[in-house]
Symmetry: C2
Subunit: 202 residues, 2 copies
């Protein structure tokens, strides 16, 4: 009785290394690996793993989106999100989207296998430090439109370009950005966008 695992991470080297690490455990077996978000659902269908290790930042499809689709389709696979940074907002959104666990890549390697076992057993696993930070940071104060404007502002594009991307008037975009700047306590749209991104608000 082994735990069948699926690994989803965009960096092939990290993926392979995690596979080596987890294959060392006697009660685990990596049955599939994918490097893109839009390949996860198909891989889950064909390999039917017990637990799925998901990175959030992936090409093709966002890890959060993957979680939502897996749940929509009623797939029984439990998902453990393994992601780079402590973006507190990601934690809430991942759990809301149906994740069974949330671990950051800063955690010691030996704890990963234990987290997988707990998730497989049906226990919710959450990095404690991250959980408190998430509660401390409070909820996301931004509206959907403000988030869209900030996302489009992340690369430093002028308001005119952002307005074009969102099919809005430049004045409206400036209003949203101004509101977001106020809510984040920053002074420019790029600062506001980075601030929000760091908290997983986008």
């Amino acid at each position: 009785m082994v735990i069948r695992l699926l690994l989803a991470d965009d960096q092939a080297l990290v993926r392979g290394a995690l596979a080596a690490l987890l294959d060392l455990e006697r009660d685990m077996q990596v049955v599939a690996q994918v490097g893109r978000g839009d390949e996860v659902v198909e891989a889950v269908r064909s390999a039917s793993p017990d637990v799925c290790l998901l990175d959030i930042e992936m090409p093709g499809r966002d890890g959060i989106g993957v979680l939502e689709e897996l749940r929509e389709r009623g797939m029984p696979t439990r998902c453990l999100v393994v992601t780079t940074f402590g973006r507190p907002g990601y934690l809430r959104r991942a759990m809301d989207a149906g994740a069974s666990g949330f671990v950051v890549k800063d955690t010691p390697a030996p704890e990963l296998a234990e987290a997988v076992r707990r998730v497989h057993a049906g226990v919710r696993v959450v990095d404690p430090a991250l959980a408190t930070e998430s509660l401390l940071g409070g909820p996301n104060p931004l509206t959907e439109r403000e988030r869209e404007a900030l996302r489009a502002a992340l690369d430093g594009a002028p308001v005119q370009v952002i307005a074009g991307r969102l099919y809005l008037s430049p004045g409206t975009v400036r209003n949203y950005l101004s509101s977001a700047i106020g809510k984040t306590g920053t002074t420019t749209r790029v600062e506001a966008a980075k601030f929000a991104e760091d908290r997983g608000w986008l």
Copy 2:
């Protein structure tokens, strides 16, 4: 006769997973692991590894800086840089700083051990795709001051703040940024900063 390895990566999970991966090889042994750039030199001194796997982006000290210090002190350890993204500029700077090899984390896991063996044998290992991109992209056209200004502009701070950080007049900063914008073919300082960062020019 085994190859003694030192792993330097800020993400504990990735570090541990790489250790598991490389320890599987019969001719390799991981003798030390560090999570910060400023711990590498001391670890090299005490563990005297044959090959050192270095991430570039680390807290404490930049991977490039580590390479320079290792060479200054005449340490015989060969270094294989293993980093996240294909920032072509990093390649040149790493090789100039004394790296023996350069591999991105997108490479398949089985190739890593082979790269380590080649580096240990004294062969220079460079990701071919990255090398061509580096040659194609051409050299860094930015002056030192322009780079400093762009680094300070990355987070979207106003010119006044950037000027304060660099101890320069706001007008001078605007001139540098304007020049950098022209050289990068962008329209805002943030775009220019991101453009330059993507190429490893900063």
